[in-house]
């Protein structure tokens, strides 16, 4: 996974969740961040799709277990 991808996603998380202390790593999941609830998850996905100018479908995002899988999916989509 490219370090730049997770860095960009980290900035999105900080902005959307309004928490400057967030430091993502590939194993980070919703249970690790208090603000990462179901409504904020929607805002995160919308922000990520807009930032990277990509679109996912629901089955793709439902399969992600952590930030690493999210970033891998972003990179895969950017390569297409």
């Amino acid at each position: 996974m490219a370090a730049d991808t997770i860095a960009q996603v980290n900035k999105i998380f900080i902005d959307v969740l309004d928490n400057e202390d967030i430091v993502l790593d590939p194993t980070t999941s919703a249970k690790d961040i208090d603000e990462w609830d179901s409504l904020n998850h929607i805002q995160l996905i919308v922000a990520i799709e807009k930032h990277f100018k990509i679109r996912f479908n629901s089955s793709e995002i439902n399969g992600w277990k952590n930030v690493g899988e999210m970033c891998a999916a972003i990179e895969k989509r950017l390569e297409q």
């Binding site: 998850h41 929607i42 919308v46 799709e49 679109r55 996912f56 479908n57 629901s58 995002i61």
Partner: protein
Amino acid sequence: MQQGDTYTHRFTAGNAVYDGFISTFKDTNPLHTDAAFAQAKGFKDVVLHGNILNGFISYFVGMCLPVKNVMIQTQSIKYALPVYMNDELEFTAEITGFFESVNTYEFKFFFKNKEGKKVAKGELQIGLLK
């Protein structure tokens, strides 16, 4: 519902909604209730509460869209001109984005008064409930 779809609805900012707003939220700031005060500040009459327009947006989302399983997720509005008692407003909203992954639509919207001038504009994000 798809990107580019546009919806319009007419609202009247009348006594019923004005009285109901004040009765509910108790905002009796003189800008909204004292014509002399409002005129001294450069307005032609009392200015209706800006958040009355947000009530109209709520009606649009809840009642005017072709689906009812909707929930507002985010909303922003910028006010450009005052709205006065009994102003007739035309509301227009266009779908500017769809995010299938999270069943979410983005809209841009504006209100025009009967002179055709935009009194407010903004953005709206709604989700479709499963």
